[in-house]
């Protein structure tokens, strides 16, 4: 106990240095936690609901630009294990500000409301299903644009040569909050008027299977069924569909990990510098401690303990601060809906804490060993 108090007293002797080092460790750990969260969020886990395991997305095996004939819907609905099918069509759009993209997804209105984790107020769902030009808008998007239920809005098309004009009939909460939904029938009608060639086709279909266990088999059945049709398909789980977009970014994980490694290295440098400054200043005391019977192992513990204390303080501020920061400030607004979720998970916090511990030990090693090795006589003679 007395030993611990000695360590803390030592740490507080040069308060300014301890504070600066702690803050330096804290900002670095904040960054580390943020980077790791970026990587975990790119895997899309937090965008999944319990029902995601039962959802499949079927699209052209060749390209998202090659739409599937609407006739596929009937065939998909008859595949054993499939409970419900919906069209799934992106309509890239914008609202008032061309540079801020807004995605609309055209779907089967009966598919909406099937996932309890995407909760829609019970009175609003029938209203959406009753209005052919109705829209369901994510709660967060509604707030971001200052809309209200019942409002008529025009969303300008940035790919299709038409605008989607509709009335907001419902809102939903849930993990994914980046797309509004409209009726596929309404979209199809707009397409028929503007590009008759493209009518009666959907970019993809979503299937809800009966059980999550069935899902992979259903995917295989579907793709086998269409191998020799005009548009061969590729069916994958909702999770893999999301992962596919992360993969398109290229080797981002490697790149971010490299940055994280650099951050770790920087922390080690800073703490090593602090600890070696502390050791240099206390050469005499260390010699005195040894004289009165402290063993080299004690000296090492004393230095390592101080490094640990500083890192622990930095870790609490940096890691805890990151958790608090991303809970307080919504990254959804900060990144214009690009990053929807930014949850600092417990495992990320544990990993960062473990790293902080490891770095504290590594950075105290060289100064501590140097301190343990110096001979009493030569140190005291130096004065």
């Amino acid at each position: 106990m007395a030993f611990v108090r000695l360590i803390l007293k030592n740490a507080l002797r040069n308060r300014r240095r301890t504070l600066l080092t702690t803050l330096s460790v804290a900002v670095s750990l904040f960054l580390l936690v943020s980077l790791r969260t970026l990587i975990t969020e790119m895997k899309g886990d937090t965008l999944m609901t319990e029902q995601s395991g039962r959802r499949l997305i079927t699209r052209s095996a060749v390209s998202l630009q090659v739409p599937l004939p609407l006739a596929y819907k009937e065939k998909l609905a008859r595949v054993p294990g499939v409970e419900r099918v919906s069209e799934y069509q992106w309509i890239p759009s914008w609202y008032r500000e061309p540079n801020i993209p807004l995605m609309i997804i055209a779907c089967d209105p009966m598919f909406m409301g099937t996932d309890p984790q995407y909760a829609i107020p019970p009175d609003q769902l029938p209203a959406f299903r009753a209005d052919r030009t109705g829209l369901i808008v994510p709660e967060k998007m509604l707030k971001k644009y200052g809309w209200h239920v019942g409002q008529r809005i025009t969303l300008r098309g940035s790919v299709f040569p038409f605008d989607v004009e509709g009335t907001i009939r419902a809102t939903f909460t849930g993990p994914a909050q980046n797309a509004a939904f409209c009726w596929f029938d309404y979209f199809n009608e707009l397409v028929r008027r503007a590009i008759p060639d493209r009518a009666d086709k959907s970019m993809a279909f979503v299937e809800l299977t009966r059980t999550a266990a069935d899902t992979p088999a259903v995917a295989t059945t579907i793709d086998a069924m269409f191998t020799n049709s005009i548009v061969p398909t590729r069916s994958e789980s909702e999770h893999n569909f999301v992962l596919g977009f992360s993969a398109m970014l290229g080797n981002v994980t490697l790149f971010i990990s490299a940055i994280a490694a650099a951050v770790v290295f920087a922390i080690v440098l800073v703490t090593t510098n602090t600890m070696s400054m502390a050791v240099r200043e206390r050469r005499h005391e260390i010699a005195v401690l040894k004289t009165i019977g402290f063993r080299p192992a004690h000296v090492v513990l004393l230095i390592a303990g101080e490094s640990l204390a500083i890192s622990a303080a930095g870790a609490i501020i940096g890691i805890g601060g990151a958790r608090l920061f991303f809970r307080t400030f919504d990254i959804y607004d900060l990144t214009n809906t690009v990053i929807q979720q930014f949850n600092v998970t417990n495992s990320t916090m544990a990993l960062a804490a473990l790293l902080a511990l490891g770095m504290a030990i590594i950075s105290s090693l060289i100064p501590a060993i140097a301190a343990a090795r110096t001979s009493i006589a030569s140190t005291l003679r130096d004065t």
Binding site: R16, R17, L20, T21, L23, S24, V25, V27, S28, F30, L31, L35, S60, A61, V62, S63, L64, Q65, V66, P92, P98, N99, R156, G157, S158, V159, F160, P161, I195, D197, R198, N228, I230, V231, P232, R234, G244, A247, M248, L249, G250, N251, V252, A258, I259, A262, V263, F265, A266, I267, L269, V270, T272, N273, T274, S276, M277, V338
Partner: protein, 377 residues
Amino acid sequence: MLIPLKYNIRNLFVRRTATLLTAFGIAVSVAVFVAVMALVEGMDETFVATGDARNVIALRRGAVSETGSIIDIEAPLIVRNVPGVAALSAERLVYVNTPRITDRGSSNVVIRGLGDTGRALRPQVHLVRGRWYRPGARELVVSRSIASRFRDCNLGDEFPTGSTRWKVVGLFDAGNTAYSSEMWTDAEGPAMAFQRRAWSDIVVQTSDPATMIKRLESEPRINVDARTEVDYFAEQTRASTPVRILGNVVAIIMAVGSAFAAMNTMYAAVGSRTREIAVLRALGFSGRAVALSFLSEAVLLSVVGGVIGGLAALPLNGLATGTTNWFTFAEMNFAFAITPRLLARGIGFAVAMGVVGGVLPAMRASRLSAASAMRAL
């Protein structure tokens, strides 16, 4: 009178452990900054190098990219009769989900179906192996860098897109331009293979782009936005914005950490040299000269760090990589570009860390009066 810089250099050398540890800390921040910004520079350079000022590109009104534009099948006939059109290429672009060779995962690669004069409008593109495609034959000529990074698209390969199989008959080199992320064929190719009749864009060569843009946009029978190719690709540089933001946020946070560390080192320097400061003051150097001396020492330290950091990042220069351009929703190849300007920015960034870290310790040094500093010993 100023204290000679040699004094600071020698001091840094005497305390070389602390100097190196601090300089390396700054170097790491600078290296990360330079590396991330080299990605941004590389992407931007690619876009800037692509456009030709004589070419005007017409997209559907409101469309942001060639792949996200749908133009009526009759539009080229109308555009052909617009006065001032020297050459015209109506094109169809389709991106195809293609597996990478190096790792698992896939990306969208653009197949550009060009009109008859399409190739003449892009003199940057040179055939390097094989031959050009024959119209209507489902043949592809692939950029060298795509061929080396994606499956089934090297010379002699059969590139499958659903039921269609394309023969790769040639490889082209497009230098450092956006075309080096593409596969080329004639305009009928995508129409047949992907049942896509509508055009993506119309590229027009003209001697008077400004007038051409006005004429195209005011033509009531077509609904297009026109701009020079240069402007079109300049807009695409917005694709690098997320990387730029990431780079800046990471660099600023790391810089704060490094500045704290530099502050520590400089405070220690002031602390251990109280006696020297007193002597300097006694010799007649002003408080301001002492402060300036310590500040220059901090800056010197950070410049050393900046140079080390820049050098550490330098091997990345020219390294080829690729990512998805979210405007076209397709793969874009580019190389890390570490320009002299970027290196200078990196060192400037280091100097900023040195100044932030050095200013408070320097002020403290200047406040030590000769008498009290001597007495303290």
